[in-house]
Symmetry: C2
Subunit: 139 residues, 2 copies
DNA sequence: CTAAGGGCTCCCCCCGCTGGAAGGTCAACA
DNA sequence: TGTTGACCTTCCAGCGGGGGGAGCCCTTAG
C-alpha cells in the first residue's frame, strides 16, 4: 500500500502519516522507487493512532499505548493508568472551560449590546484586582 | 515603569509582555538606556490583556477588544458579538471534551486494570470503524 | 571595585501538524 | 512515443502563544 491508500483507510492526511514516520510511530518499508510501502499492520497502527488522537491522547501517550498494544504480555493496569491520567487531564480542562464560560456568560447577559458605548464586558476586563476579588467572593 | 514593574502589576511574565509589544498589542516608550518605559495606560492595557487571555480570548480577539476599549464611541454590541462568538467556541470545546470523556470513562470502567493483558481500551482503539459506529449508535 | 539584579536582543524549542515549492514516478491515453 | 495528470518524494516555513537560555549592557549598594 502507498501512503494515499493508508491515508484513505485510516482517515489521516498523508502529511500526518509522514510526520508519524518522522517521529517514529510507524516504520513503513520503502520500495525501489522511494515510495513508502505500508503493511497491513502499519495500516492498523495508523487507524489506532487516529482513534487515540481523536480521544485526545497526546502523541507520547499514543507512543506508549502503541507499545502496550504490541506487547502481548502487557498488564491492562498499565493501559488503564494512562487512560485514567488522561481522563483527569480532560476533567481539568472541562472545569477550566466551565469557569470561563460562567464568567463570560454572565458578562454577555449583562451587556445591552446596543449602539451605546457602555459595556460591562469591557468594564470587567479593565477593572482592578481588588474589585475582581470582590466579584469572585460574591459569586 | 520598567518591564519588571508592569510584570508584577499585571501578573504577566516579562517575556510575554515583550511578545505583546512584538505583535503590537502594547507600545511602550524607550528610555535613553534602551529600557522599555511603561505608562499607566500601558499597565492597564496589560492587565486588561491578562484578564482577557485568562477568559480564553485569542490574541486577535484581544486586539479587537483592546481597540474597542480605547474607542469611546464604540457600540457595546460589537463587544458583545466578540464575547458571544467566544462563548460558542468554549461551548464547542466543552462538548467535544465531554464526548471524549464519556467514551474514555466507559472504557476505563470496563478495564480490569490488573496483571492480565486483556484490555478493552486497547481493543476499542484497535477496532474497526464499523464496530465503532455500532457502539456509538447503541450509546 | 565588585557583585547582584535588573534590563536588552537573539535564536531555538515546544505541540501537532499544515502548506507549499521543486522535483521524481507511474498509468492511461492519443 | 509523447504527454498529461495523479501520485509520490524531500525540504523549509509557519501557526499560537509563548518559554529557555546565551551573551551582553546598565544601575545601584556595599
Amino acid at each position: 500500500m502507498n501512503i494515499g491508500d493508508v491515508a484513505t483507510l485510516s482517515g489521516l492526511p498523508a502529511k500526518t502519516i509522514r510526520y508519524y514516520e518522522d517521529i517514529g510511530l510507524v516504520k513503513p518499508l520503502r520500495s525501489s522507487n522511494g515510495y513508502r510501502t505500508f503493511r497491513e499492520s502499519d495500516a492498523h497502527k495508523l487507524a489506532f493512532l487516529g482513534r487515540a488522537r481523536a480521544l485526545g491522547f497526546t502523541i507520547e501517550d499514543c507512543r506508549n499505548l502503541l507499545a502496550l498494544y504490541e506487547d502481548e504480555e502487557r498488564a491492562s493496569a498499565e493501559v488503564k493508568e494512562i487512560a485514567k491520567q488522561h481522563l483527569e487531564r480532560i476533567d481539568g480542562k472541562i472545569k477550566e472551560l466551565k469557569e470561563m464560560r460562567a464568567t463570560l456568560a454572565h458578562l454577555v447577559e449583562e451587556c445591552a449590546g446596543d449602539h451605546r458605548p457602555d459595556c460591562p464586558i469591557l468594564a470587567d476586563l479593565s477593572m482592578k484586582r481588588r474589585d475582581e476579588d470582590m466579584r469572585r467572593k460574591s459569586a
